[in-house]
Structures are given as structure tokens and as C-alpha cells.
């Protein structure tokens, strides 16, 4: 191993990036643009107004509960309440006509002793409709005030161990997105740039020099690791930071960055993403062996990247996956990065946490395996 040759490969990659501003822009601006878009969608989704109708079929201390529920709901932000009625079929029709998003029904047997409440939605998009529920739950909890004396109240409670019940979807997605972007871009860029070495004849030329396969892989890791490092630093700063820009002349005040709270040390989060990215460099080199054109490298995205997005804990916890898929998820590097990032950024874990350590060790192991595979296949003759 000759460090000078590793440095030569590293410097060459840096020089190549310097002369390719579009790729640099892809690396640094695209994640910011996508995360900003995601943040925008998620935040405006939460501030959208849900129309709620109340149907009162109960005969017990009737109007009182219904109107208290109505006023409690109307105090929730993002909810607009129709005056309560007793006509359920009319309310159902309003649902079908998209005039209301949710119908709260106090059933005939509703009483202070039996505070059972039914919630009715359209069912076309259960997940989307569920986004109204937290506000309704909150309002129902507020009904305590109306419950006469010491009668039981609707007990709907929401509690979280980490973060807060008020945490937005963005807060829990942000750590994941940071890791995923690093992985995706590093894989794509190394895969394509190494393929270009193969088809452009420069790999042949490299292998005709005394440089070893390990030195090439290491130089690549340094080069792409360097750019991935910058990318993660920028993305983390954008996600975690929030810089208020005061109004200046005709330009209104605005803020740069999302200001997502992090409970843990961003440096540990960064370390996790870096190791993940180093694995992606070698995976890119390794898989470029099986591609003949740039298009064929792109074809690895649905095979390599998308499953990691689906199974890695991005959307669903590993434990909720079908049992056949759980072992698959457990060999994917992104799974460990996402878990580690959540532990650090949401639960505030540090390197003393066995779970974070395990994630880190597994990621290092996976990166080492990919590096060995990459070094072993560099010489593979393109026949």
C-alpha cells in the first residue's frame, strides 16, 4: 500500500468533480431542494383545514355534549366544525360530497357512563384521513370539562417516549432522509464514474501502473467520502439549523433551514452517514462490474436503492414487515443507518448506547465487505 498513489487517486477525483459543476450541483442542491419540498408538503398538510361534522343520535344529556364537543373541536387549529345535527344520512352524504372530511357520531347509547364515540371517514385514503384524528382526539380529551361531575370521560391519550406528541412527520423523517440521500448519490456517482473508467479505457491504463486494487478502492473512498462528507454536512445544517433572514427593503423576512430539533450529537449522526457512504462507494464500484453502460448503472437503482427505501425502516418499522422480509431488511445497510440516526437524533443516544454501537459496527462490517468485493472485482476482465 503506497499512500502517495492513494492520494493521487483521491486528488484526481477531486479534480474531476471541480470540472463537473453539474454533478456538484446534483450532489449539494438536489438533496436540499427535495428535503425543502418534502418539508413544505408535510407542513402544509398539517395546517390544512379538516371539515368535521357532528351527528348526535344520543338521547342522554343531549345537546349539551354535542355542543360542547362542537366548541372543543372548533378550538383546535386546522379544524372547522359544522353545527351539530341529528341526521346521520345527511352527514354521510356530506362525506361523499367531500363537504366534510370526518363525521363524529355520538351513538344512540352514548351516555356519560358509556362515552363511546364513532368516527366516520370516507375510506378512500385511510392514511391521509387519519391525519385529522390527532386534532379530534385532543378535542375529545378536552371534553373532560363537560363531563358532569365525576363521570368517566372519553379516555383517549397520546403519549410518546421520545420527542413529543406534537412532533411533526418531518421531525421523524429528517434523520432518515439525510442518510438515504448520502447513500443514493454516493452509490450513483461512484457506480457511473467507475463504469466510465471501465468503458473509457482509463481503468486499463490504471491497471497497467503499479497501483493496486486496494489503493484504487481506498482512493475512491477518500475522494467520494470527501464529497459525501460535504454533502452530509450541508444537508444536516439545512435540516437542523434555522437561520432567520431579516426583512430587507421589499424582501420580507424569511428563514433558511428547517430547524428540526435533534436530541443527540450531530457528529455521531454524521459518523453513521459517513460509514454508510463509504459502503456505498465500494458497492458502486462492485456493481459497475455488472454494467456495460451508464443506463445499466441507473437500472440498479430500483434493484438496490428502492428496496432499501421500502424495507430499511424509512416508512415502516422493521417489526411490522412481513416475517419473510424482516431478515432481508436486516442485511440492508440503510436499515442500520436509519435506526442509528433515529436513535441519535430523536432519542438522543450517543456512543454509549449499545444499539447505536451495534448499528455502527454493522455498518463498518458491511462497508468492509463491499470494499473487499470491490477490490476483488476491479480486475474482472470485460469479456
Amino acid at each position: 500500500m503506497n499512500p502517495l498513489r492513494v492520494v493521487a487517486v483521491f486528488r484526481r477525483i477531486v479534480a474531476q468533480f471541480r470540472r463537473d459543476p453539474r454533478t456538484v450541483a446534483l450532489l449539494y442542491l438536489a438533496p436540499l431542494a427535495i428535503i425543502a419540498l418534502l418539508a413544505w408538503v408535510l407542513s402544509s398538510q398539517q395546517s390544512g383545514t379538516a371539515n368535521v361534522a357532528i351527528v348526535n343520535e344520543s338521547t342522554s344529556p343531549v345537546g349539551l355534549i354535542a355542543s360542547k364537543l362542537q366548541s372543543a373541536l372548533s378550538q383546535q387549529t386546522g379544524i372547522s366544525v359544522q353545527p351539530w345535527t341529528t341526521d346521520e344520512s345527511a352527514a354521510r352524504q356530506m362525506l361523499k360530497d367531500n363537504k366534510v372530511d370526518l363525521v363524529v357520531i355520538l351513538p344512540p347509547d352514548f351516555s356519560v357512563e358509556n362515552p363511546k364515540i364513532e368516527l366516520l371517514t370516507l375510506g378512500l385514503n385511510p392514511a391521509g384521513e387519519a391525519s385529522v384524528l390527532p386534532a379530534v382526539q385532543k378535542a375529545l380529551l378536552g371534553l373532560e370539562a363537560l363531563a358532569n361531575n365525576d363521570a368517566p370521560v372519553p379516555t383517549i391519550e397520546r403519549e410518546t417516549v421520545y420527542g413529543s406528541p406534537d412532533a411533526t412527520q418531518l421531525d421523524s423523517l429528517a434523520p432518515v432522509v439525510v442518510g438515504f440521500f448520502a447513500y443514493f448519490f454516493v452509490f450513483l456517482l461512484t457506480g457511473i464514474s467507475f463504469l466510465r473508467e471501465r468503458i473509457g479505457g482509463t481503468l486499463e491504463r490504471l491497471l497497467a501502473t503499479p497501483v493496486s486494487q486496494a489503493e484504487i478502492v481506498l482512493g475512491y473512498s477518500l475522494g467520494f467520502g470527501f464529497f459525501a462528507t460535504l454533502q452530509v454536512a450541508i444537508v444536516l445544517a439545512f435540516v437542523l439549523g434555522r437561520l432567520g433572514i431579516p426583512a430587507l427593503g421589499p424582501i420580507a423576512a424569511f428563514a433558511i433551514g428547517l430547524g428540526v430539533p435533534t436530541a443527540g450529537n450531530p457528529l455521531i449522526a454524521y459518523l453513521l452517514v459517513l460509514v454508510l457512504g463509504l459502503g456505498a462507494v465500494s458497492l458502486g464500484i462492485f456493481l459497475s462490474t455488472f454494467a456495460r453502460t451508464e443506463l445499466q448503472v441507473i437500472q440498479f437503482i430500483p434493484i438496490v436503492i428502492v428496496p432499501q427505501g421500502l424495507l430499511g425502516g424509512f416508512f415502516w418499522p422493521i417489526g411490522q414487515l412481513p416475517s419473510l422480509l424482516q431478515p432481508v431488511a436486516r442485511i440492508l445497510p440503510v436499515t442500520y443507518a436509519i435506526d442509528g440516526l433515529r436513535q441519535v437524533m430523536i432519542a438522543g443516544a450517543d456512543l454509549s448506547s449499545p444499539q447505536v454501537l451495534l448499528d455502527l459496527v454493522v455498518l463498518i462490517g458491511i462497508a468492509a465487505v463491499f470494499m473487499a468485493l470491490a477490490a476483488a472485482t476491479i480486475r474482472r476482465e470485460v469479456a
Binding site: 493521487a8 474531476q16 470540472r19 463537473d20 486499463e204 491504463r205 491497471l207 503499479p210
Partner: protein, 274 residues
């Protein structure tokens, strides 16, 4: 027309060289490379003493590039042995003494001339900036040091590619079609330089499919279908078939080699008709 018998193109028949180093610079023993059913290199024996320019001549697909890749250790032989400077290939350490100019330019298009040259030089351990500048001057690219390689003309890229193969002063130099796309004036300079390198003791193996360059080589190897048809100085080869045209000579050797092979296809194609 009387056809002179072709001696076996074995090591023994090569003309007495000027032995600069003990043993041949480039050696092959029963070297063979198969790609599936195709015998790209079909049992070649070579012994090339140092300090000379050897021309590998043959049509496209005759096995020249594969032979060079075997000799540099870039391809692994199906059977047989390749040695350069007495060291069996592949040997990564030995590559420090070998220069290889590939058929494709093998340079990074987005990098500048200087960045390309200094990168390859660094891999060979050559970091002397003055030496790099001399290499650039030699290929007349010193005024283009900052130009990205993709903005160079085809001939300029070829020249850069050559500079990248030579900056580390290799003792054995393989040049795969080095003058393709290079204008005639510069081509003359290239060959002058090749001769200077050889005079300094370097061994050059230059492949080409154009015969007009052949006369500039000290010795020629006619290659076809993975075999060495004939080996000798340009003058010798012409004399053997009684022609003053190397192209005619090649075709003559090729047809002689073809006739026995038509009968027993791969048995011993180097045997020649009488």
C-alpha cells in the same frame, strides 16, 4: 515465383541483437489466450532483446492487442508464460518499469492535460515537475497544459496518451497503434523519439496495422490469427519473399501459412509450405 522457405519464427531465428541487458527484455513461451472458442493468441513464442523497436504488424483482430495485454499482465494467459525484464507477468511491481500506451486514449476527458499527466506520473512514483514538463514539450502540448483533454483534437489526445505512458522512463514500452490520428509531421517526430529511446536502451513494442510505419522498426513480427507468421528485419522479410513491398510480403506469408492450415486447421500453422 520462387518462394523462400520461411524459417520457424522461433526465438532462435531473430537476428543477433545488441545485448544491453542479460536475457531478452520481452519473452513469451507458448503463450495462449482463448476467449471461448476463439484463440486470440494461439501459442506464441517470443524472445525480444532489449534496445530495439519491434513492430507488431497484422490486420484488425489478429491478436496484437491481446498479445500486448498478456505481456503486460493485464490479461491472464490461458496457458504459457510471459516475462518482461526477466520477471514473470503479471507482476504489479514490474509495471513500474513498463510503459503502456493503450489503443484507446485512456485519459480523463474532464481533466486538464497537466492533471492527466501528473496523475499517471504519480501512480508510477514520478513527481518531478521538470520531467513532466519535458514530457509535455516532447509531444508539443506544453502550451496546452491547462486545457481539458476533451477539448483537444484527436491527435493531441493521442500525444497526451503517449506522454502519460512515457513520463516514468520505462525500460520496456508497449505502444498500441500510437500514431493513429497523428499528423504526418508529428508522426516523424514520434518515430525519432522512439529511436532515441531505443538508443538509450529501452525496448519498444509498437503495434500497427499500417505497413508504411513498418520500415521504421528494427524488427517486425507479422501477426495473424494469433500466430506470428514471420519475424525479421524489414529488409530480411522483403528478401525472403522477393519483394520490395512489405504489404506484399505480409500477404505472401499469410497465404503460405493459410494453405497447410486449411488442411489441418489448428495443428501447426507456423509450418510453411515449400
Amino acid at each position: 515465383m520462387a518462394v523462400a522457405p520461411i524459417p520457424e519464427t522461433r526465438t532462435t531465428t531473430s537476428p543477433p541483437p545488441t545485448p544491453a541487458t542479460p536475457g531478452p527484455a520481452v519473452e513469451a513461451v507458448a503463450l495462449r489466450k482463448d476467449f471461448g472458442p476463439i484463440h486470440a493468441v494461439d501459442g506464441i513464442d517470443l524472445s525480444l532483446p532489449s534496445g530495439r523497436i519491434y513492430g507488431l504488424l497484422g490486420p484488425n483482430g489478429s491478436g496484437k492487442t491481446t498479445l500486448i495485454r498478456l505481456l503486460t499482465g493485464l490479461a491472464s494467459a490461458t496457458s504459457g508464460t510471459a516475462r518482461v525484464l526477466g520477471v514473470q507477468m503479471p507482476s504489479r511491481e514490474n509495471l513500474a518499469h513498463i510503459g503502456y500506451m493503450t489503443q484507446s486514449d485512456g485519459i480523463y476527458p474532464e481533466l486538464s492535460v497537466w492533471e492527466n499527466l501528473s496523475f499517471f506520473a504519480a501512480l508510477y512514483g514520478q513527481t518531478d515537475r521538470a520531467a513532466l514538463h519535458r514530457s509535455l514539450a516532447l509531444v508539443e502540448l506544453d502550451s496546452r497544459a491547462g486545457t481539458p483533454a476533451q477539448d483537444l483534437s484527436g491527435g493531441m489526445r493521442r500525444r497526451l496518451s503517449m506522454a502519460c505512458a512515457l513520463t516514468h522512463h520505462p525500460a520496456v514500452i508497449f505502444l498500441d497503434e500510437p500514431t493513429v490520428g497523428v499528423d504526418p509531421a508529428l508522426r516523424v517526430q514520434f518515430w525519432d523519439h522512439f529511436h532515441r529511446l531505443a538508443a538509450d536502451g529501452a525496448t519498444l513494442v509498437v503495434s500497427s496495422h499500417v505497413m508504411d510505419e513498418a520500415d521504421r522498426c528494427d524488427e517486425l513480427l507479422f501477426i495473424r490469427d494469433g500466430h506470428v507468421l514471420a519475424q525479421g528485419t524489414p529488409g530480411e522479410l522483403r528478401k525472403r519473399v522477393g519483394t520490395d513491398n512489405l504489404e506484399t510480403a505480409f500477404l505472401s506469408f499469410a497465404s503460405q501459412a493459410a494453405s497447410p492450415r486449411a488442411a489441418e486447421s489448428a495443428a501447426s500453422p507456423r509450418e510453411t509450405a515449400r
